[in-house]
Amino acid sequence: MIIKAENLKKVFGNFVAVDGINLEIPSGQIVGLLGPNGAGKSTTISMISTLYKPTSGRLLFDGKDIVKEPKWIKPHLGYVPQEIALYQTLTGYENLKYFGGLYGLKGVELKKRIASVSEIIGIDDRLKDKVEQYSGGMKRRINIGVALLHNPKLIIMDEPTVGIDPQSRNHILDTVKLLNEQGMTVIYTSHYMEEVEALCQSVYIMDHGKVIASGTQEELISQSDSHTAIHMTFDVSVKEYLARFKEIKNVMAITQNTEMDVSILASGNGNSQKEIIHEIMSMDIGLVSFDVTKPNLEQVFLKLTGRGLRD
């Protein structure tokens, strides 16, 4: 475990922002922290990155106490703040150079690191421009790059894709995957379910300062008792076939939306919907189109809290 949190709590005044959470983050994984606004994600990772002192609880990095020994931990930690935290009047290169300098990098070594980081974040052609002239996506990329210079063991990213175009977002997601393949452990915070689904091997779902569920995506989905939904449209009225649909294996419930339009909920493992579709097609009753909605973390969250992630 690179990070272990036990009963971690943070109170601001009399507001409990993080309410006694437990985390176990294994080395070499991408771990997601998913939750709506104000869930306590930033507060949690601010404690891990030594910015905030926990009100109570224990927080270990490679077995060492983060609060007591920040000196040993800081050099191995990369932190990407939720906001763009760059000197806008300096160039991208200067930002990389000076922040790298804070980690004792200098000379040829620093130059090499800047070259490799700017290649990873895909921004080497604009390094000589001032950050204030960058687009939102480029700023986000530099914001990440600055945290990579000292080649940390653990990188903590707080919503690194907020407010940017899809192209930059995809690039960032690829970057995260690449870093992980190179052995870096990543804590990835987001309220975009798709990002967490695409990246993370395991997920913690937070709400109101508490971890309300955790595990791999499959575990979360099966725990939450969510189901695949199949939506079908026919060119005839399907009323008379409904009874036959119901008899197909793994069909849990059927809702008729309009005369020629039904939704079927499938139980069982991830492939049960294929069999259902196959059965219905073989009945040859004029299926025009269908689409499948697999259960996702959004639905898990909805089940757990009765609210959407981005209400």
Partner: protein
């Protein structure tokens, strides 16, 4: 630590315009004040000579030839009109038998100014000097009369005068005090120094305050978070901020000392080390004071509105704008003691204008050092407290 220092020094570039304005302002103000009140400007005064004696004419001659005043002789009534119309800085009335009576010389003026203050000091010392010469001559006459030696009184007086002046001129303590009045450019030398030093001390505080306050900017743009997660410690950050504050302060000081020498013709002479030393100590105080003030506010905008009030107030109280000698209010003079400006100014002026490096100089140094340490402790504690609270 080095990485952090390099970063902070690089960021100073963003404040370049502020620094240039501050240097420009201190040059401009020192030039304006130092020159209109000195330099080619000659203060005119009305003189009413009711005594009409050799002594009174000696004083009048000295006012013109030695002290560089433009003296207009006139009647009392005419003089009053001239004062009222502000054609003259003041009217000097030399009463009959002035050197033997309480109010021998009277000064009529609308209000106290630097020149009229200097004038009253000059007259004071002229009368004292005259009285010394007269009483010395009288005593010699008495003795010689008693011994039946006849001496021509006027010749004696003139000889006594020459001896007296020669004698005192060569004795250090007195000749130095007199050098204020005897300086070739009259009033301007003292004022030139005063305004150059005063304006430097005043304007340098702004550069320092905003340089130290850069930590607030780091907070605003969230780079503070990056600094805090890096291996740089809070103490490193504080040190780096104090260092840059001191750095810009010392640069500005050196620029002004050089400008004083080459633009305003001030000769710092052998006191250059003392000027730089005390100036640096003062900059140390203002840097730590800035740290303290910065720890009290939350944003750069708050600092921007608070600091001019504090800094201008302190500068005015401390005598940067006008010499404290013309202030008579006791409470104001009391308050002046709490400003580092007063101590730095009086030590530097004492040395450069009056050539005086004595106990008072070291008291000033001591007070400045205590202030620097006090504000450092206070500011450091506050910053620490604040960062704990914020976290």
């Amino acid at each position: 630590m080095w990485g952090l220092l390099k970063l902070k020094v690089r960021l100073m570039k963003d404040y370049m315009v502020l620094y240039l304005i501050m240097i420009g302002m201190s040059l401009f103000m020192a030039g304006i004040f130092g020159n209109t009140m000195g330099g080619n400007y000659v203060a005119t005064l009305a003189l009413v000579d009711l005594d009409q004696s050799i002594e009174s004419s000696e004083i009048i001659t000295n006012l013109t030839s030695e002290h560089g005043f433009n003296v207009k002789l006139m009647s009392y009534d005419e003089a009053l009109v001239e004062v009222e119309n502000r054609n003259v800085i003041s009217a000097v009335v030399i009463n009959n038998d002035f050197n033997q009576s309480e109010k021998g010389i009277e000064i009529v003026q609308i209000r106290e100014t630097v020149e009229s203050f200097q004038l009253s000091r000059i007259l004071q010392s002229e009368v004292e000097q005259l009285n010394n010469i007269v009483s010395l001559s009288d005593r010699i006459l008495e003795v010689s009369d008693a011994n039946n030696v006849s001496i021509e009184p006027n010749a004696l007086r003139s000889s006594v005068r020459t001896t007296y002046l020669d004698h005192w001129e060569s004795k250090k303590p007195i000749s130095l005090i007199r050098s204020v009045h005897n300086a070739s450019s009259g009033l301007s030398a003292g004022l030139g120094v005063h305004y150059t030093v005063g304006m430097t001390l005043f304007f340098v505080t702004y550069s320092i305050m905003f340089t130290v306050g850069d930590i607030l900017e780091d907070k605003r743009i969230h780079t503070l978070d990056r600094l805090l997660v890096s291996p740089a410690t809070r103490r490193n950050m504080l040190t780096a901020n104090l260092f840059t504050g001191m750095l810009i302060g010392v640069i500005q000081l050196v620029v002004m000392v050089l400008s004083g020498q080459f633009l305003f013709g001030i000769s710092w002479g052998e006191h250059i080390g003392l000027v730089l030393g005390i100036g640096t100590l003062y900059i140390g105080v203002m840097t730590t004071l800035s740290l303290f003030i910065v720890s009290l506010v939350k944003t750069m905008a708050q600092l921007g509105s608070l600091s001019p009030i504090i800094l201008t107030g302190m500068g005015m109280l401390g005598g940067c704008m006008w010499p404290l000698e013309i202030i008579t209010s006791k409470p104001l003079l009391m308050l002046a003691n709490f400003t580092p400006h007063k101590w730095a100014l009086s030590a530097i002026e004492g040395a450069v204008i009056y050539g005086r490096i004595d106990q008072n100089t070291w008291i000033s140094v001591g007070v400045l050092a205590v202030m620097a340490i006090g504000y450092l402790i206070l500011g450091e504690r506050m910053m620490y407290f604040k960062s704990l609270k914020q976290n």
